[in-house]
Subunit: 769 residues, 2 copies
């Protein structure tokens, strides 16, 4: 009960920051000078998260890692994951170095971007990578410990695995807010006005996104190449059971779970989290200009404080995730859900207090926007589970389609995935409208956009705990692999499988949040991009001679420029008219990008898997002792092959993503870029949901059959379902999740390069018009 | 050589209309009164096409239909197709009757639409259906005749099949222009001003689209259900060869080629053709208002005359499609291409003359827009072939992916389809910008939009002949089936297979044109919709009291309303700002629709195929004589099952398509509908290309293996490729092509219901704001 007491203490501590608010609430609404600065809470939240992660991490490491075999297997996985991550960071370092130098040049030679940008970009990438690395390090150590704890009971296994997941969750949110706190403190020390800070901080969002895309894509390619290699040669060709130690690719397969599902997901959600907070800060800063009674700080700090409050709420939530030793799977699921619900409830109440006492009841609608995001996340989460879990009809029916062979289960899965996009899109659409309307967007559109940003922040505010329930899945998966390879008694594997199944259910909810928040965040970034375009055009016209320029002529109809009597530029308003062909064409180009990106990433998996298949075949052929059990397979060689493949393959799609908005911007102008982003957001969001859900449903349809339905394991139906699962692998673990990052990265790139693009576009127009 | 002489005579006759132009060219540019009325050419073109179709049709029917067996098989197919079409028209008739009554009510009771709309709607549906029906009737009679002619030589077979295809091509364009000519004459007789006629005529586009969607969807469901049924039970379970007469579903399979690939395609392209012409007429009428020197008629008649000229050019083109009796497949392909190139060349030259002598060299850019469309069509056609033909690397590589099983060939095919979307989208995007810029859109946007419409008309101007080369494929396919079922000598089947392969190559090009023109036409319709919204808002405000209404308040920011000093409405301009959340949400909702529609139609195929499988199994079980050859299978029962399935399944997707823009319009307003249409166009265009090309590539990868590569027929690789082909079937023959119609139908529905939607939306706003 030590945990429960600690929870209550923390809960009380959370109320401390509100004390000064109560005292000042009268002022805060009217005077902008008297705004209570709560940004220090970012430090509190981030240090609390990091401290909690540290405590839990030490706790996990203190657990028994088992006998020699489990320890050795775990160390193989650790070594493989480390080898992968080292190689990945080398490639990423080159990419970052090139961009860093480019940014230095743009900032210090051409003065087209803020001098802080190059460094903010680096820290974003660094912390994103670090989040993934820490999560992976603890996961690769928790695996054998989970296996060993599962010898005792299901609950013991859950405790270890869930603690490891919590370390990851807390690291992500802790480092996210830490980077934010550091930069806020630094930039404030440079005496930058509050409202100028968030746009600079968006740059570390770009660093985080770039890193995340590499991590997701590289990790996704690695894990699926290893998976396919292990299955295709090991299981199908040679007939070894799953996770047999004689299969040379089996360690690579387990490494894959860690580098893809843990490190990749960590970097991904770090990026979502930070992205949503900084984008909303930036929108808040713009929105505050519309309201004389609100200071920039008042709006800017709300997303940060909500994130900080969310961290503490998540910590409290983790304390109720416990059950009796002999608990069933259902009870454990209840325990996990209880943790999430408690955190959610705390956030609902605390954010209400926060809004009331920082901006007053007049802005209660902002709180409504936040809640709209939280509800939308839950709705999408539920329907993700509905469409992909074999507890519900769609996936059960899909399993049934295996009776007419692989073709029908493929058609069925694609069709299921396509249909499953409807509710998430409607939900996000409704959440957008509700958030916009409640925050008063029909009177002050800028405040409405800020509300949309807040709904994304609301959706991600429980990330600390939702990510914990998500990230413990791969640990359980690994634990099962180790149990199998170490030939432990069958009950251990049964328990780890139960944990894994539990993880799949909660992961579905987590994915719903990730996808929904990605769409909302991308939208917030799009809004911020249009603000930046307005600024950049202003700068262009300020420095240019009076009178209409080629730029102004070409962009006529898409912007309204106001000049004074002397022809000096005064202001510009944008109107990205959908009926303008440049906008429509931008939209088309945007819609095609996610498809091309998904195609490239799927091909990458195919090619990397091909190398793996050849390597496994080579080892089996050249070392006959492997099959006899007298010779050890060269696990490291398989890891190296998959690593090399992943690194090679992740570069082209990333360059496509980064360069598309820049190229389109230079050729067709910034308004086409807005359309490009909107088009890719529309098509990409739908495609991402479809790929994730088709993949999830195929996976669980296969498991449904393996659980004894439609003929069970080894039947023709099972074989058909394996085809579905294999097709689904790159869908759900490589292309689908990468698409979410792609959408945000493209927006971030557009934002960072806005000035450069507009200057070059202007040059081009001068040459040709 | 009779044909060649006739061609020269026709060529000279084509120049006749230009004689008065030469005389008047001086006037035409300046005076609007002296515009030469060339609309009579619509009658000439349509009657020429219909007459030519009649002559060719009689010629086909005069050919020998072969021996008793081939005649009987052909008559079974005829009876099946007729039974299907009757049933389909019954369902369609109910749907049309309901809409007709609704239109009558809206037109005569509420005066929300023009009184001509209900009737224009009916004729559009009627002629679209008739095009399909005539094409199907001749195709089901040409099949046995092609078989019999192929006994003589490849060229003889081609002549019969190509003549049948030409009947179809000419019927589509002839009836299309005929409907147009009739309505132009009637509405002119009612003394309607020229500029008011095209918007009414768009309604028959809606009739045609509705019919086309039913035909494509119903036909696509029928044909794939029959195909899967025939393959799955007949070939796989019982082990009968393809097209074995003992297979109860074999006739249904051959009927499917006719109702899906012929009747469905006929209605589809009728709709594209008419849609592009009427949309461009409407845009021309709006554009002419911007140019004082241009009369409405001058712009309105250009698309019509180009269509008419295109018909004659296509007729001339067909005369060069002939080869020596002993010609090889390559020579025949050359002959087909020669015909298309000749027609294209004629259109390029004649349309230049037309533009020069009707609107003068000042509008040479309009001709450029037309050529941009023609070039874009060819580029898309080439890349469609590149990605889907096994003469090129992508499909060859895809066939190679079969070596690692069905999962990899599925991933490969999906990835190929996704990547193949890039060039068509870029091409259409560039064509849009070029057409817009060349027609002077950056000065007069309305004229630029007219130019975009003309590029669609240009792309479809050679439809008479491109459709002929496309529509003869199913005839050749059927001829092969008959050869097999009638146990003719193997050389006949070889020749019909060669014809079929030829057809596949040219069909790829045809598909490129169909897809490209669908995107451009949908865009033209979108532009026309925004014109209608402007009009409808004007009407609303004219009848309403002065002062800002709830409507005006809610839509603030998306339109700019000008009033005079007394507060009386003067004018309104739209600006569908992409940064407004209602627009963005509309875009999201639009992007999800094609996915949902594709999902529903794929499911429909699955369910209909299930019924077919059960029926075939039942017959084989209950009549053991069938397998022994002593009892005849009940072909008609299979046709009936598939027919019933198709009719049942096509209703829901159609209702979704028709109702989405109306529901969104009433709830969120007309600007969200514009975004909805743009979003569904962006995502739907890409998805349609992907589905068509994935499906085509899987089909040809299978054929590549069947031709002896990667182990040939019966190998595991072949089995894997069959899985790909089966998944591809609903992709390329049901969902993919239906998406093209969906995009246009949604725009048409929006246009027809614009007034209704705005009035209801206004009512709703009054209630809630």
């Amino acid at each position: 009960m030590r945990g429960r007491k600690m929870g209550i203490i923390l809960l009380l501590l959370m109320l401390v920051p509100f004390v000064p608010l109560f005292a000042q609430s009268g002022d805060a609404q009217g005077a902008t000078g008297g705004t209570v600065d709560l940004m220090w809470l970012a430090w509190v939240g981030s240090l609390a998260a990091i401290g909690f992660a540290l405590i839990l991490g030490i706790g996990v490491l203190r657990k028994d890692a088992g006998n020699e075999t489990t320890k050795e297997l775990s160390s193989h996985i650790q070594a493989g994951a480390l080898a992968y991550i080292k190689q990945q960071y080398k490639v990423v370092a080159i990419f970052f170095a090139v961009l860093f130098v480019l940014f230095l040049f743009l900032a210090y030679a051409l003065h087209l971007i803020s001098p802080f940008v190059p460094f903010a970009f680096l820290t974003g990438g660094f912390f994103s990578g670090l989040s993934g690395f820490i999560g992976m390090s603890i996961a690769t150590r928790a695996n054998a410990r989970t296996t060993w704890a599962s010898k005792t009971s299901l609950n013991s296994g859950l405790r270890v695995a869930f603690s490891s997941g919590t370390v990851m969750g807390m690291t992500v949110v802790g480092l996210g807010i830490l980077d934010l706190a550091i930069w806020w403190t630094i930039l404030s020390a440079f005496k930058l006005p509050n409202e100028e800070i968030p746009p600079i901080m968006i740059t570390f969002g770009m660093g985080a996104s770039t890193m995340a895309l590499f991590a997701r894509l590289g990790g996704g390619i690695f894990t699926k190449a290893a998976d396919v290699g292990a299955d295709l040669v090991g299981k199908v060709e040679i007939g070894l059971p799953e996770d047999d130690a004689r299969n040379p690719a089996t360690i690579a397969d387990n490494v894959g779970d860690n580098v893809g599902d843990v490190a990749g997901m960590g970097a991904d959600l770090y990026e979502s989290y930070v992205g949503s907070v900084v984008a909303t800060m930036a929108l808040g800063s713009v929105a505050s200009l519309q309201l004389p009674s609100i200071s920039a700080l008042q709006f800017i700090q709300i997303p940060v404080v909500i994130a900080a409050v969310g961290i503490v709420a998540s910590i409290i939530g983790t304390f109720v995730v416990r059950a009796k030793e002999n608990a069933t799977q259902k009870v454990l699921l209840g325990a996990l859900r209880r943790g999430i619900y408690l955190s959610t409830g705390l956030i609902v109440v605390l954010s209400l207090l926060l809004v009331l006492f920082t901006v007053g009841p007049r802005f209660l609608g902002i709180w409504g926007a936040l809640i709209a995001g939280l509800i939308a996340g839950n709705v999408i989460g539920f329907f993700t589970e509905y469409y992909t879990s074999d507890n519900y009809k769609p996936t059960k029916d899909l399993a049934g389609e295996s009776t007419t062979g692989p073709a029908t289960i493929i058609i069925g899965g694609l069709s299921l995935g396509m249909l499953s996009t409807l509710i998430p899109v409607l939900t996000v659409g409704i959440a957008i409208l509700v958030a916009f309307a409640l925050s008063g967007g029909f009177i002050h559109p800028e405040v409405g956009l800020y509300g949309i940003g807040l709904s994304a922040v609301g959706m991600l505010s429980t990330l600390g705990i939702t990510l914990a329930t998500d990230a413990y899945g791969p640990v359980a998966d690994n634990a099962g692999g180790i149990a199998q390879m170490a030939s432990l008694e069958p009950v251990v594997r049964e328990r780890t499988d139960a944990l894994d199944a539990l993880g799949n259910t909660t992961a579905a909810t987590g994915k719903g949040f990730a996808i929904g928040s990605a769409a909302l965040t991308a939208l917030a970034l799009l809004a911020e991009y249009s603000n930046k375009v307005t600024d950049a055009i202003g700068k262009l016209f300020h420095t240019a001679a009076a009178g209409p320029s080629a730029f102004e002529q070409f962009e006529a109809g898409l912007m309204h420029v106001v000049r004074n009597a002397a022809g000096v530029f005064q202001s510009v308003t944008l109107s990205v008219d959908l009926l303008d062909p440049r906008v429509l064409v931008g939209l088309f180009f945007g819609a095609v990008l996610p498809f091309v990106f998904a195609s490239l990433s799927m091909r990458a998996v195919g090619r990397a898997a091909g190398s793996m298949v050849n390597e496994v075949r080579r080892q089996i052929r050249e070392k006959p002792g492997i099959m006899a059990g007298t010779d050890k397979p060269d696990y490291a060689a398989c890891v190296a092959i998959s690593t090399k493949g992943a690194q090679r393959e992740m570069v082209v799609p990333t360059i496509v993503a980064v360069s598309a908005p820049i190229v389109v911007g230079i050729l067709l102008g910034p308004f086409s870029v807005i359309a490009l982003l909107a088009g890719s957001l529309g098509a990409g969001f739908v495609l991402a949901v479809m790929m994730a859900n088709s993949g999830g449903a195929w996976d669980n349809a296969k498991k449904h059959i393996e659980n004894g339905n439609y003929g069970g394991k080894g039947s023709d139906n099972h074989k058909a379902s394996v085809v579905g699962d294999t097709v689904g692998d790159p869908f759900k673990d490589t292309s689908g999740p990468s698409l979410n990052i792609l959408l945000k990265l493209m927006s971030m790139v557009s934002i960072v390069f806005v000035q450069v693009v507009i200057v070059l576009h202007n040059l081009l127009l001068k040459l040709f018009i």
